[in-house]
């Protein structure tokens, strides 16, 4: 009885230490559980992979640093995929706090493939007015973004000569941590301009995206860090990248974190029912 009662009053700091250790240990010594790619990630990969060289992939960086560990690997993996296939990448964002993250990706990933800014990749930056921005880009991107994030006029960037409006871009990959996000791209870019939309979302909001996936509105879905890891594996298996895969590396930690939370819930329930039975 006392044992179960003491379990119910377990100091939260013990829980924190256990969770902390189990998250850290696999980062130091990986368990090597491996990641297999599911149909949703495969569908997005195939859609991008089927595009001919020279086409542009629009990546919407609609997240901020709080969801960076989950979503940034998706951005990097998608850029690697596009560059390895000699496609161009257009970056933009509906979250002002995500602008630095897109900048970081625009500065680092193209160099891995010898790609040039302005010719193979352009970062438009952030503008206020979600629906107005997407709808405006549907009519003429230069009207919404006369200059890119770095202040270059769009007319001076060779890549933008072939990319005037959303209809010139076959697919948008919206990496979203909430609102605004992929639903806005579905609502405005797809319904009005017929764009294919793929989404990358945090694990906690993945369940919301399933109806759009089944209806065919979403071409593919990367859900949480697992989704990022799946895409990293697909890109690497196809021989497009040999770089370090941060999401795959973090999956062991996430596995153990899930297991420890489940064990805690089980222990908590056992202790609760044991004490309740005896008291009644």
């Amino acid at each position: 009885m006392k044992f179960f009662e003491s379990l119910l009053k377990l100091d939260r700091r013990i829980i924190y230490i256990v969770v902390g250790l189990l998250v850290m240990l696999p980062l130091i010594k990986p368990l090597g559980l491996g990641v297999s790619s599911g149909p949703r990630a495969r569908a997005l990969f195939d859609a991008v992979d089927a595009l001919p060289a020279g086409k542009t992939v629009l990546i919407a960086v609609d997240f901020d640093p709080s969801s960076m560990p989950e979503l940034y690997p998706m951005l990097v993996a998608m850029m690697r995929h596009a560059f390895a296939k000699d496609m161009k990448v257009l970056l933009c964002g509906l979250w002002v706090t995500g602008s630095g993250l897109a900048d970081q990706a625009a500065q680092t990933i193209p160099k891995e493939y010898g790609k040039e800014y302005g010719k193979d990749v352009v970062y438009l930056g952030w503008k206020p007015g979600v629906d107005a921005v997407i709808l405006g880009m549907g009519e003429n991107i230069k009207n919404v973004y006369p200059t890119d994030y770095y202040g270059h006029p769009l007319d001076s960037l060779p890549m933008m000569r072939d990319v005037q409006r959303l209809r010139d871009i076959p697919i948008v990959f919206a990496i979203s941590a909430g609102t605004p996000g992929y639903q806005d791209w579905l609502l405005y870019a797809q319904s009005r301009y017929g764009m294919r939309v793929g989404a990358g979302v945090t694990a906690v909001s993945a369940a919301d995206a399933y109806p759009f996936l089944q209806s065919g509105q979403l071409t593919g879905l990367l859900a949480g860090m697992k989704g990022g890891a799946e895409y990293e594996v697909l890109v690497q298996k196809a021989g497009y990248s040999k770089a370090y895969m941060p999401a795959v590396a973090a999956m062991d930690s996430q596995s153990l974190a899930h297991v420890v939370i489940m064990l805690l819930v089980i222990i908590g329930n056992v202790a609760y029912f044991a004490t309740r039975k005896r008291s009644s």
Partner: protein, 209 residues
């Protein structure tokens, strides 16, 4: 007058923009292009309003020494420092706003906030997630299946777990989500019509006629 003019503008633009969506004529597209520019400009004003509202709220909290007033000092100081650095040195990459405020402060602070959630969630789940009723037990089982099925260790424990987790997400979860989405969409349409027709006037504010 203060109410009738905004109501008339709302009614006019609500109807015109609904009709415009179905008219592909160049004049209609040009009008649409113009109005989206207006929306962006109005959006910029909203940013100013939002900043003003934030400052006023925290100044008031400080003056009245409301609980947690000292956090308002942090908020106001952070807003002021960011504004000064942004206006003084610019917002382009390579300037202090990007290299110091964003990279060295915002990124680690935001990431830490989110990371701490894992600890709170573990502690909260331990204390509160109880199978007290049949529904709670069902939720618990579904959560366990999805939590295990969505990480590699689930497949290592039992190869069918990811498939079962996928079924939970694709069938019962989606049915519930669809119902919610339909409800939200219908509610959204009803609210939009009420605003356009002037039945719902909350957006005008609480001032007297």
């Amino acid at each position: 007058m203060k109410r009738n003019i905004p109501l008339a503008i709302c009614l006019l633009f609500g109807i015109v923009m609904m009709v415009q969506f179905f008219v592909p004529h160049p004049a209609s597209v040009a009008f649409y292009d113009l109005t989206t520019k207006w929306v962006r400009i109005v959006g910029a004003f909203a940013l100013v309003l939002g900043t003003g509202s934030l400052v006023l709220y925290h100044v008031d909290k400080l003056q009245r020494r409301r609980p947690g007033w000292y956090y308002s000092i942090v908020t106001l100081a952070a807003a002021a420092i960011t504004t000064v650095i942004g206006l003084g040195w610019g917002v382009k990459p390579g300037r202090p706003l990007q290299d110091v405020i964003f990279t060295s402060f915002l990124v680690p602070l935001n990431a830490s906030m989110f990371a701490i959630l894992a600890f709170y969630m573990a502690s909260a789940a331990y204390r509160a997630f109880r199978a007290r009723t049949r529904e709670a037990a069902l939720l618990l089982v579904a959560a366990f299946i999805v939590m295990l099925g969505m990480v590699p260790i689930g497949a290592a424990i039992w190869g069918k777990l990811p498939d079962i987790a996928e079924w939970v997400l694709s069938v019962p979860n989606m049915a519930a989500k669809r119902a919610i989405l339909f409800g939200v969409a219908l509610g959204g349409i009803a609210t939009a019509l009420k605003v356009i027709l002037g039945i719902e006037r909350g957006w005008l504010g609480g001032g007297k006629q």
